[in-house]
């Protein structure tokens, strides 16, 4: 049994992740699995070698993820897509996902202290009108039943987002309701 040292607070530090069930051994990966991994380097990650047990779903999931977050030809700035991911993860309670996307939000926004306040104080932290609107929309989407409504749209519009940017918020926040559930339930973070 490897030693797991689970973090007990939200952090922007780099964390590891340990699977609770058996990932595929690297030596058993075939071309079908590499297609599922999309990036061959992901064969080094326990998380991706676990998800690659269903390569077709992993490939589609990965390509959905990459376009929602990395396609910045237009739409919402990357920093605010990462903010939606971090806020969703903070609210659902995924310390691992929050660490990764809080770091990205800090890198792209240069507002590391504000991002840290989201982690420390939670989704009620006052981060200014525009970020507050993104965080509130993400939280409303994360609730079950879903609480996202016309008030969230109005607030995002008042904060200056157009409809294409609002769709980026919806996609980014919704995607993390997918990612959080995998990361939280198949294994655990370790410092």
């Amino acid at each position: 049994m490897s030693t797991v040292n689970p973090p007990v607070v939200f952090t922007q530090d780099e964390l590891g992740w340990v699977s609770w069930i058996d990932p595929l051994p690297e030596a058993e990966l075939t071309e079908r699995h590499f297609a599922g991994l999309v990036d061959r380097a992901r064969a080094k990650s326990e998380y991706f070698r676990l998800l690659v047990r269903d390569p077709e779903v992993l490939e589609a999931r990965t390509k959905t993820d990459k376009d929602i977050f990395y396609n910045v030809a237009d739409g919402l700035p990357r920093a605010e897509r990462e903010l939606a991911a971090a806020a969703t993860s903070r609210y659902n309670g995924c310390i691992y996902c929050a660490s990764v996307h809080a770091r990205f939000a800090s890198t792209y926004s240069k507002r590391r202290e504000d991002v840290q306040r989201l982690l420390d104080e939670g989704v009620g932290a006052d981060l200014g009108a525009r970020w507050n609107a993104v965080v509130k929309a993400s939280v409303a989407l994360a609730e079950t039943p879903i609480a996202f409504g016309p008030d969230n749209i109005a607030e995002l519009r008042r904060a200056g987002l157009d409809d294409a940017e609002i769709v980026d918020v919806i996609n980014g926040a919704s995607f993390f309701n997918w990612a959080n559930r995998l990361m939280l339930s198949l294994g655990e973070p370790s410092k």
């Binding site: 659902n92 079950t144 039943p145 879903i146 769709v167 309701n177 990612a179 995998l182 198949l186 655990e188």
Partner: protein, 199 residues
């Protein structure tokens, strides 16, 4: 202009509409949300997680989010299976018992413990267990955890699924299915809300 996909159908997005044009700017995401749906519901190999089980879990998960076009879609998908109508009835009565509001659950013991929120720990009713069988009973109980209190998940939950006859690969696909639906139901709800606010 791309043909309507499952998200368009569920969100009521018509070709040539404003939202259709916005979705076209994220073509890879659009195509792969569709491929995710297809690889979960029309898989190459359903040996570890049968198609009937997939539609039963999907009907349960989407219905737990409240009544919606998405829930109706997956309920119809389940009803189309052999014995599907009986399963819809069984799941309907389980939804009554399992309905609640999330997310809730516990954080790792420490400074975050003040944010712990107690809530329903759902178990399938005793009278429905024989009819659903051990695999589906374990799946519905774990799906409820994933929907409402994912931060409560522990390694013991994986052991419970393995003990109920789920393979490791089956657990991965099952977890992807529940997590994917958590995404899909939100995208559809968000896009519907946006369309209504722009009308």
């Amino acid at each position: 202009m791309a043909p309507k996909d499952i998200i368009d159908t569920l969100a009521g997005i018509e070709p040539g509409s404003t939202l259709d044009a916005i979705r076209a700017r994220r073509l890879q995401a659009r195509e792969n949300a569709q491929k995710s749906y297809l690889s979960l519901f029309e898989p190459i190999d359903a040996g570890d997680f049968s198609l009937a089980e997939r539609s039963a879990v999907a009907a349960f998960v989407t219905w737990l989010h409240g009544e919606s076009p998405v829930a109706a879609f997956y309920r119809e998908k389940l009803a189309a299976n052999a014995d599907g109508a009986a399963l819809v009835e069984a799941i309907k009565s389980e939804i009554e018992r399992g309905k609640t509001s999330g997310p809730y659950g516990a954080f790792p013991a420490g400074p975050l413990s003040v944010e712990n929120k107690a809530g329903l720990i759902y178990r399938v009713s005793a009278e429905r267990r024989p009819e659903l069988g051990a695999r589906l009973v374990a799946a519905l109980e774990h799906a409820h955890l994933l929907v409402f209190r994912p931060r409560d998940a522990a390694s013991a939950d994986m052991k419970a699924l393995l003990a109920a006859g789920w393979s490791t690969t089956g657990i991965v696909t099952f977890s992807q299915l529940v997590a994917f639906l958590s995404f899909q139901v939100r995208v559809v709800s968000g896009l519907r809300t946006l369309a209504a606010a722009s009308a």
